[in-house]
């Protein structure tokens, strides 16, 4: 009834190939943007920002990045945590070496450095595939974390081995360092997330994205029809690492403020982000957001219900959470391998016909 194409005439090619061809979808998308930019910043408080919104936006960026590599290009990576660490440390070095540099430039710089590192560790993907590549990316994970732990230059010889973000501001408004307003943290993450998601959406439906998907579906066949595997795989690694690096930089500079590499960017983080894209949906930008939201909300919800209401001890809740996440992963892979995004798509198909059966 609400959700239909009837009467929605397209008079130009531009209209015909837009991201949201159905009117209702388009208006819903604008409504979400208005809500995110014009309503949430005014009602957000410290708890909501630090428990839900900021981690959600940062994980969504990382999940889009990993989704480009795994969901669109079919190269399984378990090194996400390591690449996030590269973004964080590159951003930190830029912030401390050039105090006058704008924080946005530092974060983008962190992304670019991570892209270079990603290409380096992506080189073996030209020779090895599948599980072998997954294990090769584990090498990146362990080596990078070790490197940031053992080489004092990376943490500026600080006694604790931690890195902590100095205070920086955008347009005179502090966004990093102590005493930052919740809404400022939220806004900078939101701007990055929206711009990056928009860019990813348009990349994946253009030439580059199509060559990634050709490699994913069958690399030899893609090579025969003229897709250059070197270019496709390395661009996927570069773009994916760029996103993950930015997520790492935001995670360190804006969200946590101070970071110890093994704790914040360990192998668990790699799996967390992989789970986000499995639950959300492989090969879907919306899925990356949905998966990130799901896995950020689940622990908060469990904590409120089990610890807050039932009064269970926290370690027991943590174990229950592990079981639930594991069971959900298996459940999704069995019932709906394309994740929440596919459920959303099915729901939309149903809505198009509703209230009629055909």
């Amino acid at each position: 009834m609400f959700y239909r194409e009837a009467g929605d005439f397209k008079t130009s090619y531009r209209d015909d190939s837009q991201t949201f061809p159905i009117g209702f979808d388009r208006y819903r998308y604008y409504a979400v943007l208005v809500l995110a930019f014009a309503v949430v910043p005014f009602v957000i408080d410290d708890y909501w920002a630090s428990a839900i919104f900021v981690p959600f936006l940062i994980y969504a960026i990382a999940a889009i990045g990993l989704n480009i590599l795994v969901g669109y290009c079919g190269q399984l990576s378990l090194g996400t945590g390591g690449f996030m660490a590269v973004g964080a440390y590159a951003c930190y070095k830029l912030m401390t070496a050039f105090p006058d540099l704008n924080i946005v430039v530092c974060i983008l710089g962190g992304g670019l450095v991570t892209a270079a590192v990603g290409v380096l560790f992506g080189l073996p993907s030209l020779r090895i595939k599948g599980f072998y590549l997954a294990v090769a990316t584990l090498a990146a994970q362990f080596f990078l974390v070790w490197l940031f732990n053992k080489v004092p230059w990376f943490y500026n010889y600080s006694a604790s081995g931690q890195i902590s973000a100095p205070a920086r501001s955008v347009f005179g408004l502090p966004v990093t360092g102590p005493g930052v307003e919740a809404w400022a943290q939220y806004m900078i993450c939101l701007v990055f997330a929206v711009v990056l998601a928009w860019a990813a959406r348009n990349l994946t439906r253009g030439t580059v994205g199509r060559s990634w998907m050709a490699i994913r579906d069958m690399d030899i066949a893609a090579e025969i029809i003229g897709v250059n595997p070197l270019k496709a795989k390395l661009t996927a690694f570069a773009v994916s690492s760029f996103y993950i690096g930015i997520a790492g930089a935001l995670f360190f500079a804006v969200y946590l403020g101070a970071v110890e590499v093994g704790e914040a960017f360990g192998i668990q983080k790699s799996f967390l982000i992989l789970f986000m894209i499995i639950i959300g949906g492989l090969g879907s930008i919306f899925g990356s957001f949905a998966g990130a939201a799901f896995l950020v909300l689940l622990p908060v919800l469990l904590k409120n219900v089990l610890v807050g209401t039932l009064g269970w001890p926290t370690d027991l809740t943590a174990h229950v959470q592990l079981m639930i996440v594991g069971a959900l992963i298996i459940g999704f892979l069995i019932a709906e391998p394309h994740g929440l995004a596919q459920l959303w798509r099915i729901g939309k198909e149903k809505l198009r016909l509703w209230p009629f059966p055909h």
């Binding site: 362990f142 974390v145 732990n149 192998i267 799996f271 789970f275 027991l316 079981m323």
Partner: protein
Amino acid sequence: MTDLLYAVEVMINGLMAGVLYALVALGFVLIFKASGIFNYAQGVLALFAALTLVGLQEGQVPFAHLINAALGTDLHHFGWQLPAVVAIVLTVGVMVLLAIAIERLILKHLVNQAPIILFMATIGLAYFLEGFGDIMWGADIKTLDVGLPQGGSAWLEQATAGWGSDEFYGFFIDRLDIVATLVAAVLVISLTLFSQFSKQGRALRAVADDHQAALSVGISLRFIWVLVWSIAGIVALVAGIMWGAKSGVQFSLSLIALKALPVLMLGGFTSIPGAIVGGLIIGVGEKLFEFTVGPMIGGATENWFAYVLALVFLVFRPQGLFGERIIERV
């Protein structure tokens, strides 16, 4: 001369550590050969087996923590001590039940899916089992004692003391490592005999060769899967006992599984001898690297050396040392 002898000692200890890696890798190879599944949960399986063994031996009440939290009771132990042999037999039973449950609840529904989906399902399984094991038996570090000898071999140390020069105190080799080596050898020989000469073993190899052909000559795929997961569970139990006796039963046990991955990549996913040789190379390689280069670049190189070695190696030989040649068709 003394330096050289120390290097030899490091190498021997590396060989022993390599045997333990190979034990975990063996479980991976078995499952991969029979079902094409890359079982990430093997390490957690070892942890779960070791936890169950300790729990049964000590007479812990399963799920005590959960029951206490939900009902407000104060359960912890039944108050008996089982002999090690009985506890091991019971644990084998639990592992077989687990294999049946995995087949019924997960594998049956994922037939014909892409290998990468199955791989991710085993990651989910690993998470589930980790939480399940902790809820069932508690998350504290436990000591595992099934009567294996511990500590350095005094005889060997005295026999070799004073070699080269008076400075040399003799080789220090843990007796547990020697036992582990013997157990691994027995395990590999019996698995090889089983797969070569028994009826089930032949069926297992047939399934590994071609699922459809095996089905068409009347081999039950589901039975083979239960069988192979049970064997992998028992191998995991052995690995869990060895590692648990060495460094206590705790979460880090499941990270050893990750170490087994580069071992597999070196040896090739489909080869049992490959798992052993790969384990030895990694064990010796990382110990020697830490001994020679480690002090220069800050130490703790054992964390990543195995992965980087495997990565470099794979670029030159993608199928591993003993793996079957990878042939791709459109």
